[in-house]
């Protein structure tokens, strides 16, 4: 948080959009701003009300170069936006550099992602040194539909305003088969991460995982916190390295080591210790390939190759996924079984022969699971 600034001394805040960027439809800007506020109101008691006249707490504007706040913008790229800590006057206001190309997608700078970061400042958060945090100073694109506020940011904002109080406290302990829990039998199910674990297949999804013990058994569903209390929800990638009897589970810039069935005491560790550059903020998928005796890490449309024996990243990476895995451009989850690699992207599952270097079958996402 900002030194000496304890945030707003009220919970009901107002905002006003003073002008629009021509890069996007006005409705797109409105939606991006609204969603960016929702990121913070979802985890705090704060509310944000838009006003159209008068002066609001958080005034939002697009401007280029010098714009009357002693912090001129610098043309395309470089500085994208800035915002001021809570106080009267300019305090809380957020300015976006009009010389950038703003977008609701990924071709340019995503307004929702940048606005969510700036509103963190507007509410009293300083920059974070956690590379996976929203409040880390550098821009990193995340698909807005997949965005989840990282733990570091949640802790920061709740230290100022407290947690959001739920409308009703649950009277019974949370169970994995609550109505809100996703079902594997839904035809459009997607998984956050998949791995093998001592012959079983583990499918991570939000705060739960499914455990397919054998091909013939019924799948079991559990809360992650029940099995591994120190493991976070929303695991993003996981892989098993059988030689060490370990599973590595990734979230943001951290990973946890499950040795046997226990999470090691020195977890979590930093992904940068594995050899990733700081530009990588999260790993989409990971898998150990027996055929090449390498671990592959997938990040956006790139992959890295890791040597488990040398415990170091191979040189010459990242490379494009499509160059090594023809037919695939993005991989969201992966595991290895009986000599094949299985890749998940959206609602598709691909069986890939590492030896033949080609996709051999297209499968349903839930093909491994007996409901």
């Amino acid at each position: 948080i900002f030194p000496g600034n304890k945030g707003w001394n009220k919970k009901e805040l107002t905002y006003r959009i003073l002008n629009y960027t021509p890069d996007m439809l006005q409705s797109e800007v409105d939606y991006a701003i609204q969603r960016a506020f929702k990121v913070w109101s979802d985890v705090t008691p704060l509310t944000f009300t838009r006003i159209y006249s008068g002066v609001s707490d958080i005034e939002i504007s697009f401007a280029a170069q010098v714009h009357n706040d002693y912090y001129p913008f610098d043309g395309p790229h470089g500085t994208l936006a800035h915002a001021f800590a809570p106080s009267s006057g300019i305090g809380g206001d957020a300015h976006f550099d009009e010389d950038e190309t703003w977008t609701s997608g990924s071709n340019g700078y995503n307004l929702f992602i940048v606005a969510a970061h700036e509103f963190g400042h507007s509410l009293g958060l300083f920059h974070s040194s956690d590379p996976s945090a929203l409040m880390y100073p550098t821009y990193h694109f995340t698909e807005p539909s997949e965005f989840r506020l990282p733990e570091d940011d949640v802790n920061g904002i709740q230290s100022l305003y407290g947690a959001r109080t739920a409308p009703e406290e649950p009277t019974v302990p949370e169970k994995p088969n609550d109505p809100s829990t996703p079902s594997t039998c839904l035809p459009n199910i997607t998984f956050d991460a998949v791995t093998t674990l001592r012959g079983e297949i583990i499918f991570f999804k939000e705060k739960t995982f499914w455990r397919q013990i054998s091909q013939n058994s019924e799948v079991e569903q559990h809360l992650i916190s029940t099995f591994w209390p120190t493991l976070p929800n929303h695991i993003q990638a996981a892989y098993e390295f059988q030689d060490r009897d370990q599973v590595l589970a990734f979230k943001g810039a951290k990973y946890w080591v499950i040795s046997g069935y226990e999470v090691t005491e020195d977890s979590p560790k930093s992904i940068y210790d594995l050899g990733f550059p700081r530009t990588v903020r999260k790993v989409d998928a990971a898998v150990y390939d027996d055929n090449s005796r390498k671990t592959y890490f997938f990040v956006n449309d790139n992959y890295w190759s890791y040597d488990e024996q040398k415990q170091s990243m191979d040189s010459g990476f990242p490379k494009k996924i499509v160059d090594r895995f023809p037919g695939l451009t993005k991989i969201r989850a992966a595991f290895q079984k009986d000599g094949f690699l299985y890749f998940f992207d959206g609602h598709h599952q691909y069986e890939f022969s590492s030896a033949k270097r080609r996709v051999t079958r297209l499968l349903k996402n839930n093909s491994w699971i007996k409901c």
Partner: protein, 83 residues
């Protein structure tokens, strides 16, 4: 003419880093001339920046540091006075 100075040139890197550190880490002007006893203020600011961003603290403009400096970012200063 190139739109930006070519990357990887030491002189260009130093100039770019100086501007970056002035903007975000409150590096004072004329740092190259103000060297006295002890560490160069530029080196100290590079270390401060590396520590803040979770980089390996070397005090040098290594490739990883330059890569992070070239990333688009928020314009709010990471150190110095808040107005």
């Amino acid at each position: 003419f190139p739109a930006e100075p070519p990357r990887g040139n030491e002189e260009n890197d130093a100039k770019f880093a100086e501007e970056y550190l002035k903007r975000y880490y409150n590096l004072q002007n004329n740092v190259r001339q103000s060297r006295k006893k002890g560490e160069n203020p530029l080196t100290l600011k590079i270390k401060e920046m590396q520590q803040f961003l979770g980089l390996k603290v070397t005090g040098k403009l290594d490739s990883e540091t330059m890569e992070v400096m070239h990333q688009p970012r928020c314009g709010f200063v990471d150190a110095g006075e808040f107005n």
